[in-house]
């Protein structure tokens, strides 16, 4: 059933727009923070996560749009596809979108914040992956809600960001530590929080998705 993922991805017209957006966020932050702080890893980690949240939000809304245009979501609901499988597929699609945006954002971050490509990047990767899983799990569930309400595009960040806060805090802290060259052990607590968040929200999305996509 993962085949639908492939097709869904092909329909996603502009991963480019996601990249452009994360770049813009980074540029804005560079100017907002001022040249003095641009070398700090804390600022870089913060900027990276801001870019990630924005890109993730946009990605979730876009993935939704593809289904909303001709009511294709109903076509999916009518099919023998199980809502949980649908959730898993949409989660994977969102994850891939976010991963692409993240790679772009990391490259830009290194350039803009004058960091070096070194071992710290390798330590950053699992943190970003954990963050992307958590955010995709949450955004996929919530976008199914906001996509079917009026003014839903506005509601998605309003609902998603507060819930995402614990993973965001943990992610920023762990990323800053990773960029500063700290070993993995020193961020154990943050990683545990992120893992807990991911496990909880992937499970919640998997179980609750059928309730949000059901008929009116």
């Amino acid at each position: 059933m993962r085949k639908d993922l492939r097709l869904e991805l092909r329909s996603g017209e502009s991963t480019l727009a996601l990249l452009a957006l994360s770049m813009l966020v980074l540029v804005v932050l560079v100017f907002a923070l001022g040249a003095a702080r641009v070398r700090s890893v804390d600022a870089a980690a913060g900027a990276l996560w801001v870019a990630m949240v924005f890109a993730g939000m946009l990605g979730a809304n876009r993935a939704l749009l593809a289904e909303r245009d001709n009511g294709a979501i109903r076509g999916l609901l009518l099919s023998p596809l199980d809502p949980s499988t649908l959730y898993a597929a949409k989660l994977c699609a969102a994850l891939i979108f976010m991963a692409v945006a993240e790679v772009g954002a990391v490259i830009l971050m290194v350039l803009f914040f004058n960091l070096d490509f070194d071992a710290s990047m390798a330590r950053l990767a699992p943190i970003l992956v954990l963050g992307a899983i958590g955010f995709s799990a949450l955004a996929t569930l919530l976008s199914a809600i906001t996509g079917r309400t009026r003014g839903g595009d506005m509601l998605l960040p309003i609902l998603a960001v507060p819930i995402f806060v614990p993973a965001l805090i943990a992610g920023v802290k762990a990323s800053a530590a990773a960029l500063a060259g700290a070993p993995f052990e020193s961020m154990g607590d943050w990683l545990k929080i992120m893992i807990a968040f991911d496990v909880l929200f992937v499970t919640a999305g998997y179980l609750l998705f059928e309730h949000v996509v059901g008929g009116e």
Binding site: L138, I158, P162, I163, H211
Partner: protein, 237 residues
């Protein structure tokens, strides 16, 4: 539950206890030795926090029951709880902020407790915005239930993460809100009375709003049936 007599009794006893707690705060209880008179805000701040958290817990419980049983009753309860919880949570933040200003010299700090409360406030604000922006269909009721459950699930992680993020608890909070903070028995009594008063106030608000939402749900069902019967009555025979 929807008995007007119970509701009125609840209303009256709430009023009486609120007045009693007001009297106790301003005339009976001795102010704290270190913090002075501003510490008296504590006697409303803590009950507000308790009812706010209880409401949000109730939102999640009602959400679970709604998804499980599908009875509109649970959605009405969840919505009423979210709304009253939001009222009390907002008041708690305001009262806490006014307390913080003279004591800590600032309206707001990103202390872990404050941060957590603020995040909760944002979450349930989102819940209410969703409900306000949509009609009351079973679908939106399910959305509300899901968000209520998800938000409640998030609370423990939020607590852990903000604790780790900001470990600096101002000492006043620890000593004065800890159990050993209330040396004088009059302090304990005042807190107990105001806790009861706010619990009753909460129950009263909840009951009023719940009853209203029940009535509205029943009425919209009835409106459909009346419309059906009206059309049927005008059928040519």
């Amino acid at each position: 539950m929807n008995n007007p007599t119970i509701r009125n009794w609840l209303g009256f006893s709430t009023l009486a206890l609120m007045l009693a707690s007001l009297f106790m705060v301003f005339d009976y209880v001795p102010p704290d030795a270190e913090m002075g008179i501003a510490q008296l805000i504590f006697y409303y701040h803590v009950p507000l926090a308790w009812v706010a958290f209880a409401s949000f817990g109730l939102v999640a419980i009602a959400g679970i029951f709604y998804l499980w049983l599908g009875d509109q009753l649970w959605d009405d309860l969840g919505y009423a709880a979210a709304e009253t919880g939001m009222v009390f949570c907002t008041l708690m933040i305001i009262a806490g902020s006014i307390w913080a200003k003279p004591i800590w010299g600032t309206w707001w700090t990103w202390d872990s407790r404050l941060t957590m409360t603020f995040i909760l406030w944002l979450m349930y604000g989102g819940y209410l915005m969703l409900r306000a922006s949509a009609d009351d269909t079973p679908q939106v009721a399910r959305f509300g239930a899901v968000i209520g459950i998800v938000a409640a699930m998030d609370v423990p992680i939020v607590i852990v993460s903000v604790r780790l993020w900001r470990t600096i608890h101002p000492a006043v909070l620890v000593t004065k809100q800890g159990t050993h903070g209330l040396e004088d028995p009059r302090m304990v009594w005042t807190l107990l009375v105001s806790l009861t008063a706010f619990t009753l106030l909460w129950a009263w608000f909840l009951m009023l709003r719940f009853t209203q939402l029940r009535t509205r749900s029943r009425m919209s069902k009835l409106a459909g049936r009346i419309a059906l019967a009206t059309v049927a009555a005008s059928d040519p025979k």
